[in-house]
Every structure is written in structure tokens, then in C-alpha cells.
Symmetry: C2
Subunit: 214 residues, 2 copies
DNA sequence: TAGATTGTTAATCGATTAACAATC
DNA sequence: TAGATTGTTAATCGATTAACAATC
């Protein structure tokens, strides 16, 4: 299959989340405008994405929920699945562990790491915590290819380097420090501050509009 | 000032985060290519954003870090600041509370809410937890205009409705359920699953490329 | 059938980048 | 000065949407 736009990949993930919800509610077919409503996008965009992945719906009933879930799986999952590590077992690390595991997913968190020896050996939502010094050995042993970084900013760079040397393939960086890493490692960064400042900015303008109505 | 593109707003927030870091390291001036490197974008884009907000650097020294921080503040902050509530005091809620407070920011988390009475009255990082039934009264009393949702998915919709009725202006939704709310309320949604699936997808292709080299 | 839907191309829109003048 | 930088317009690129044919 030819390469899909990055935005389409993102939406496929969201379609799937929604379709799984539909299925659990007993919904077997869905229209493009229903999916669109849920995700705050247009029906055309949904249909175009579906076209890009080579699926077809039925003219009257819409799209088959179960089939689409399966098809999206063949695109964004790997067959054998992937092992994931969470680095940093603070509040955020624990939130991620309990949120992602317990999901029916090809992605599995198989280890967590923390510099605090107190936490070593403990289990969070079924995931064992190792001391950071075991990072390299465990990544090798457990065949971990993806890391989620939730450590304090000032050690992010250093740990990223160790991860890369250990052969990790992708990093999801939740620390406030942007990482500078080789381009063959896929990097996704997210900072909550940016999101909340965006909301604040936009609700600021909303308020100003209110004022002008008075 | 004419309206700035949404993407520029996002980057302004990231520039500021970076500039503050520079300042703390004693760096007084910065070049566009330095900022660009940190944020994985191009120097032209940095200069264009800076042009859009009407700032000018000096030809040899680059941009004045402190001045730029101040200017970005006038654009994305409000003078009086904004009060924020976190709804749901699980791991993620607590992570957000401790992450955002303690930052020098115009955004202040002034209350947290949870349905678990055990948590009522407790403090997390200096923020008091209220029972969910006090949501409306506290929003009014504390003049809260922004809410961060970290409750379980199945109550997200219901709480969003209460928030809107209570007069909230913007919502940052971390639950896996997309919200269906009136368009005058600004809504930002983020699902970790999408981020991690994106990383998995891209590091999948990276691996396939590796295979083909062998 | 009429109406609602899908599938797809072409047009539009918006965001990024290339090119280059200006200047220290 | 030459080289490095900023500031800005025009061109390009990519993503979204409008338009519409097809069909149940």
C-alpha cells in the first residue's frame, strides 16, 4: 500500500477507538456522517480516508463496523504486536500504564523504569518496575521497541540517548524538553502546557466576543 | 492584532517554553535556527511566526530572549490570568496538577473535583479536592473558566454538560470519549492512544526498512 | 421513484518553504 | 569587506472541501 498521510493515520486510530465503542453498544453499521460528528470532522473527510485505505461501504447501510476495525488493524498494527516501556513511574507514568494496558491492543507495556529504588520490583497495573540502571538489559531481554518518556525534564536527553543506544525504534516524549535525536528514530512530542495554553488563548477570544455583546 | 493561525499559537507556546529555559541558562539572545533546531522546525518558520507577532530581532545577535517571552505573554496570556479546574483526581489528574502549578504561569489550577468522597478536602500540590457535587458552586465562586477533564470515559459527556451549564469557556478533554458540545465553547481533545499508535505505526515502517537492507 | 448515501476528482484553502533583498 | 543573519514576498506543497456521478 502506498504511504498514507500522517493526518490520516491519526484519524484511523480515532476511527478505530470510536468503532470499538460502537461495536460494544451493538451498532453493526455506521454512516460517514456519524463518524464525522463524533470526531468533529466532515463526512467527506471520513469517506476520503476510507477510500485511501481501500475499503468500501454499502450504499444504504454505511460501513461495516467490525470489518473496518479489522482493516484498520492491518494498517496501523503489526502482526506480532510491539513491546513498550514507560520510563518514569510518577503520576503520569502510572496513568499511562493503567490507561494503555487493559486495552485490547497490539501494544503492550512490558516494563517500567524509575530511578527511585523504592519503586523497584513493585507492580503497577500488572507492570513490573525496574531500576533505571537495568534499562539496557531489559530492553534487550524483553524486546522493547517503543519508549514513553515521563521523566523529569533535566534527565530526558540523557535517557533518550541511552534508549537509542539500546536500540529503541520510537519515542513518545511527554517531558517538556524537546529531544534532539537521529532521524531514523521516530519521535512524537507532547506538552500539556501547549494544549492548555491553546485552550486559554481561544477561550480568551471567546470572552472578548462576549464583552462586545454587552 | 489580526488573528494568528492556530499552528502559530501552538508554536508560540513552545517558543516561550524554550526561551524560558534559555533564560534560566543565562542565554540572552537566540538565533532563529537555534529555536528551530529545538522544536524540529525550520528557521524560516520561526522568523515568519515572529514576523506575524510583530517582533523584530537584531541582525547580528538574533532575538532578545527576555523581550520575546514578554511579547508572547501579551499574546497568549490574559492580564488577570485564568482559573482552571481539574475534574478527576486519578493518576492523570494529579500529574497535571503538579505539572502545571509551580509553573510561572497566568494559568492557575484553583480546584480539583472527584466523585470519591475519600479524596474530598485533601490537597494535591496545594490544590484542594472537592466532591463532584460541588462542581457548579465552586466554578462560580472561584471564577473558573477552563476545565481539564480526566474522568473515566463513561461520565465524560455528562460532566461536560454540567461544566457548560456552569459557564465554563474552554475544555481540555483527556478522556477517550469525544465530546459533543456547542461551538462557542472551545474544545481541545487529546488521546494518548492515538499518539502511541502513531509512534508504533511509524517505527513499524522504520523496521520494515531495516529488513529490506539485510 | 425520490432521497440518502458512497466514492472520487477537481478546486480551494491554508500552511510551509524557497528565494532573495536588506543589513550589520 | 564577506559572511551571517533577519524580514518578507511569492511559489509550492499538502490537506481539506466542493461538486457531482453512481447506486441502492
Amino acid at each position: 500500500m502506498k504511504k498514507l498521510p500522517d493526518k490520516t493515520i491519526e484519524r484511523l486510530s480515532m476511527y478505530r477507538r470510536n468503532l470499538i465503542l460502537c461495536l460494544s453498544q451493538g451498532k453493526k453499521y455506521i454512516y460517514s456522517h456519524e463518524l464525522a460528528n463524533d470526531l468533529h470532522i466532515t463526512p467527506v473527510q471520513v469517506r476520503r480516508d476510507i477510500m485511501l485505505i481501500g475499503y468500501s461501504g454499502t450504499l444504504r447501510k454505511g460501513y461495516d463496523v467490525e470489518e473496518m476495525i479489522k482493516l484498520i488493524g492491518t494498517i496501523i498494527d503489526t502482526e506480532q504486536g510491539k513491546n513498550v516501556a514507560v520510563i518514569g513511574v510518577g503520576n503520569l507514568g502510572r496513568a499511562i500504564i493503567s490507561y494503555i494496558n487493559g486495552k485490547r491492543s497490539k501494544l503492550k507495556i512490558v516494563a517500567a523504569f524509575d530511578s527511585d529504588s523504592e519503586k523497584s520490583g513493585k507492580l503497577y497495573a500488572g507492570v513490573r518496575v525496574f531500576h533505571l540502571k537495568e534499562l539496557e538489559t531489559q530492553i534487550l531481554e524483553k524486546n522493547i521497541s517503543i519508549a514513553i518518556l515521563t521523566v523529569p525534564g533535566d534527565v530526558a536527553e540523557e535517557i533518550a540517548e541511552r534508549l537509542i543506544t539500546a536500540g529503541i525504534k520510537g519515542i513518545l516524549n511527554y517531558t517538556p524538553r524537546p529531544l534532539n535525536i537521529p532521524s531514523h528514530i521516530y519521535l512524537e512530542e507532547y506538552d500539556m502546557i501547549t494544549s492548555i495554553e491553546k485552550v486559554a488563548y481561544h477561550s480568551k477570544s471567546a470572552e472578548e466576543m462576549n464583552y462586545s455583546y454587552r
